[in-house]
Symmetry: none
């Protein structure tokens, strides 16, 4: 088994346990057990639990980006670009409920606050959503309100809807997903 395999096993175990039980329902010993490694082994790959949690977030984030960009074209209209990103993201999260649940845990935690602050400070490289909104504002297609609020108008409902789907409060099909993303667009468009 290669080095990478074990690291992946640990990340997968952490994803499953934290997604289902939260950070506190995922003791390191249990993660190790689910990963099929010794408790100490985790610490060869991750300095401590916080680092494991943060790395796992980055891993998921990294996994999503190419999915979002697949078929995404800056040539299309702002509306089309928004629709593309919104539906692709919604679909991805619904098809990967573990990753969604993990993201939710992460975002609603001190880790997430730090991450969001860094993002808003522009510490993060190219951000496809920020770019979209900035283009939309300059083209006078999107409401001229603070970026932060645009994010909230777009992501707030998307995450909420995904959660409700995963919790079985609704069944999102392609139609409902389209309606939802369009409704979000209504809130950000001029």
């Amino acid at each position: 088994m290669s080095k990478t395999d074990k690291r992946d096993d640990i990340l997968r175990a952490a994803l499953e346990l934290i997604a289902e039980n939260g950070f506190h329902g995922a003791p390191m010993a249990l993660i190790a057990e689910h990963a099929g490694v010794g408790a100490g082994t985790i610490y060869r790959y991750f300095e401590n639990k916080d680092v494991l949690i943060t790395e796992l977030f980055r891993e998921i984030e990294t996994r999503i980006i190419p999915v979002l960009l697949d078929g995404y074209s800056l040539q299309k209209s702002i509306n089309e670009r928004f629709f593309h990103l919104g539906t692709v993201m919604l679909r991805y999260l619904i098809e990967n409920p573990l990753e969604f649940k993990y993201l939710e845990q992460f975002i609603n935690s001190p880790f997430g606050v730090v991450h969001r602050r860094d993002k808003l400070m522009g510490k993060n490289e190219r951000d496809v959503f920020r770019e979209l909104f900035e283009d939309g504002i300059s083209q006078q297609v999107v409401k001229n309100i603070p970026l932060v609020i645009l994010f909230d108008l777009a992501f707030g409902p998307l995450l909420a809807v995904t959660r409700d789907h995963i919790l079985d409060f609704i069944q999102l099909d392609e139609d409902l997903m389209g309606l939802t993303v369009n409704a979000c667009w209504d809130s950000v468009k001029r």
Copy 2:
């Protein structure tokens, strides 16, 4: 000191500590200390920590309802009613950051899932928002999509925006609050 006083002291202490430090930053002994009671005393009023947490949520919920209803009239248009409820709620949360932080903690936790499930199952009495959306749909002013999604479109951004204000990512004044609520309205209206 009456029985009710002590109960209130405990709830207040729990609110402050949990809002600022999360559930795990609020040990029962600390809550007791802040409430000025013995650790064991809490258990005379609340069966265990989970019950305390849930009761505190209901308390806050109960406190908000009359605020929302003050000046609220079923005679006004759906749009006006939505604007009233949205801005009043936004203002209330911003002026009561402890309660908002607590609600966030609660919603993003296993407790919150249970609560939301109960609500959607209609276990809860009269719900002013459900009523508003149902009226809006029947008057063909609001999009005819599942209630759950309408909730998400309206509350998702409001909560997100409040959090960003409290985290100092934006400064919400009355103007921005109005813009935000109107943007939410754009997403639910036909």
Copy 3:
């Protein structure tokens, strides 16, 4: 059982275990067991293991001082005062081997270095030995060399001899104790 009793039980258990096995041979769980209390109970009396260790040192120190001062008179000659302090200390340590072993552990550890630095900086109240040497120097009875060296000349051998007695390398009786203290005096006297 009074509050003080339990604290004393813990200190006694710590003394025994650390004296015999060193700091690392005395896990908190074992100290708790020997003290007849729960593991968590120790933390009601001592913030952490370091504090327990330091407090125990002070306790022992405090216990020795009145013994040293019993029958000690500033009216007597420097030589007599030195002999009194030296033999009383030697006798006390030999009769209380656990305390001696503990002191040795403590002195030869990072704790001890800090403590010694504080002492030399004069942070500690009245120090009977410092006083003795300062009097001796001003009366030109004791060698005019740095205080630190005088301490080393006097205590170095006393502690070494005590350890050898406890380890059964020698059997110190009153005669040998007298000879030893006198030899130490020879090294500090002019």
Copy 4:
């Protein structure tokens, strides 16, 4: 690289780490890293950590003996021989603080007790100090008290003074070193 080289690298790394951080601040993996070898390699040269520690002590001891004997003559007076050994040792330890710190760690540990017991039992070959004191006693120049006590009177202060120098409590120059060794002589001479 020869077998001996690797062994030496390990011993050197162990010396540095243990001297600065104590036995518990020197994990085997770190020693291996500092020595530039694999963790498992140490176990080809030393059965376990205890053996490594003991061997390192012997190594240092062996290194000091020729230094002590350089210029040492049994023809000189006891006083002169004592002065020679005392100052040379003091100087050596001060100039090699790592070795001193290591010796201190070793002596004040269960390892040291065993070693001292062996030494006093006469298990060790020729001992230059024992010889000196025995000569001194038979020439009636040194106090007729047990050898062990003479060792303590001579080494107790020397080690204590060295430690204080290394901890920066005093600055030992050649003069102070001479004074100190002479003071020790005062305590052992008749």
